[in-house]
């Protein structure tokens, strides 16, 4: 059964291997050069006291390739999974060859188990290898960027889980829908939806984030003063500088945990509204979006704002919830385990459906 599955899968495997080889060649040509540039310019920049120029010019290297590889790293696990998963059973049902396959001396359950196993494993290997290659190539760039969570799903091991999930989802869609093209479309929609829901609601909380409170200071924990969409103006929390961390939320709260409101700000610092323009007809109109500062501040505004921040800071602090760099690998493993678990459950559903509902 493994040999027959391999025989039918070989052409796709050859295509995937060639693709990986091409990427490997491109990376082998450009990668060492990036490492060399990093060693020559960035790692010694502290000695020359000119790090911002060195890093920004370093990050401009192979820019198109960086964008291309990052996009590919996002979509490849999904595409592999869909293109190999959706037709796996759907094509047999569509073309009628299931009547040939399921009447040989191999039970349907075993037939499906081996197919899912071999092709699923292959998609995980391809996605995993590609992700490792990308991780290696980007390592000097990521070291400079200091934003490891920005590329969390494009590096290291999570791609293996995404590929397994996309593959199992595709296979399941194929089994339910019984036609290849609609199954591919359905898988694509389901995959994008799942990944978005995961990114916003699941992934940030897979491991309990760290909460930390900072005293208020203008420029760091307070980014400015303003209102959005006609709301009363208030102080805006700033984003603290946490290299390689994933900041989930920032809020200004008192000891009881209540958020700072505009009316509290206006009570504590009444002169702020008169200097900068507060609520009322004279207030600057903010057109959509989340805007903190509008135009140049009037003279003396900074002192007023400074005074207000220290006044508010007597009772309020900034509360930041974030995933620290130390959570990167635990989160990678948790995400991988989550997707592998769901993939296994989907494979089980496929097996049940093929055995009981397609007969």
């Amino acid at each position: 059964m493994i040999r027959s599955t391999w025989m039918q899968f070989r052409a796709q495997a050859v295509v995937a291997t060639s693709g990986l080889l091409i990427v490997a060649v491109v990376m082998a040509i450009t990668g060492p050069h990036l490492v060399h540039l990093y060693d020559a310019n960035v790692s010694t920049c502290a000695a020359h006291d000119d790090c911002s120029t060195a890093t920004s010019s370093f990050l401009q290297n192979d820019h198109a390739l960086q964008v291309g590889l990052n996009v590919l790293a996002v979509v490849l696990p999904g595409i592999i999974g869909i293109l190999w998963g959706a037709p796996l059973v759907a094509r047999e049902l569509e073309t009628g060859t299931y009547r040939l396959a399921w009447t040989q001396s191999v039970t349907r359950t075993r037939w499906l188990a081996v197919k899912l196993g071999v092709v699923g494993l292959a998609s995980m290997v391809v996605a995993g290898l590609f992700s490792l290659m990308v991780t290696w190539w980007f390592s000097p760039i990521d070291r400079v960027n200091m934003t490891v969570f920005a590329t969390f799903d494009q590096r290291n091991i999570v791609a293996v889980g995404y590929a397994a999930f996309a593959f199992a989802l595709g296979a399941a869609a194929g089994v339910f829908i019984r036609r290849t093209v609609p199954a591919i479309a359905a898988t694509l929609v389901a995959l994008v939806t799942t990944r978005l829901l995961d990114f916003f609601y699941v992934q940030p909380h897979l491991i309990t984030p760290v909460r930390h409170s900072y005293s208020l200071a203008l420029g760091t924990t307070i980014s400015g003063y303003g209102g959005s969409n006609g709301a009363q103006a208030s102080l805006f929390p700033g984003t603290p500088s946490l290299p390689n961390a994933w900041i989930l939320s920032t809020d200004i709260v008192d000891k009881a945990g209540h958020s700072l409101t505009a009316s509290v700000v206006n009570d504590l610092c009444p002169q702020l509204a008169t200097v900068l323009g507060g609520p009322g007809p004279g207030a600057p109109q903010i057109q959509g979006g989340h805007v903190a500062a509008i135009g140049p501040a009037p003279a003396g505004a900074n002192q007023v704002l400074q005074a207000c921040v220290s006044k508010v800071g007597a009772t309020y602090r900034e509360l930041v919830s974030y995933q620290p760099p130390g959570h990167f690998w635990p989160l990678q493993w948790a995400e991988l385990a989550l997707y592998l678990g769901v993939a296994l459950a989907l494979a089980g559903t496929c097996a049940w459906w093929v055995r009981h509902r397609l007969s």
């Binding site: 009628g96 009547r99 009447t103 001396s105 191999v106 007969s359």
Partner: protein
Amino acid sequence: MTAVLEASSLGKRYGRRWALSDCTLSIPEGKVVGLVGPNGAGKTTLLHLGVGLLAPTSGSIEVLGGRPADGPAQLGRVGFVAQDAPTYAGLTVDKHLRLGAYLNPSWDDQVAHHRIEELGLDPSQRAGSLSGGQRAQLALTMAIAKRPELLLLDEPVASLDPLARREFLQTLMEVVAEQGVSVVLSSHLVADLERTCDYLVVLVASRVQLSGEIGGLLASHHRLSGPRRDPGSLPATQDVIEESHTERQTTLLVRTDDAILDPTWTVKPVTLEDLVLAYMGRARDTQPTRRSGLKVLR
């Protein structure tokens, strides 16, 4: 006589539609059985149930004494060629044979390659570019080479031209002679069965209308023609299958194991086609009344 396929009150429902309902039949061992019936009679459903592609909704079916598709051994004992002989369009003939070898422990590679050679098929040709007849032959080769005890063929020649049809049936006859395998083949073309089959099952709307050795069936049916008369006046041993009357003449198709003694009849033998059409016609005429009769009884 042991049965290779035994169904009792077998039924298969798709949603609310019954593709086969309350079908009871027994097919003896060592025969080449023609399963005939109009479209929609349930032939394909019956064969799919027999090979385990489908599971019964009601009733039971036993094939070679076992439950269809109940494990690899049972699957290996039944060879199947589905309607239109599905093959993998992208795989070559040779790869199909390797597929068969990988998937069947009982695979006879020599038989397989010998057949392909005899048929003149190019092993490196993709199945997608084969003609319908060649594809059917390839599918049959795969079914034969796994050395089954029973071969189920679903409309194997329906889409073939007359020459391909004859070649296919010839191959089949050779296999039967060499391997002594039991065969059930469905068809709605009686002419195909005449040369190939020695046993006939007529299936109309899930019901077996007629079942038996073709020789015996032909010997026990007669076409009678004579002056017009009421078929009710015939001896009780003569079962009227079909009747037609003109103003002066009556023509009957009767079944009887006794000799026809009435000298007013001109007795002629019947052809297989006459027989099948007569039973199909009778089923069509009596089915609705019988159904409604059952309802009245309830």
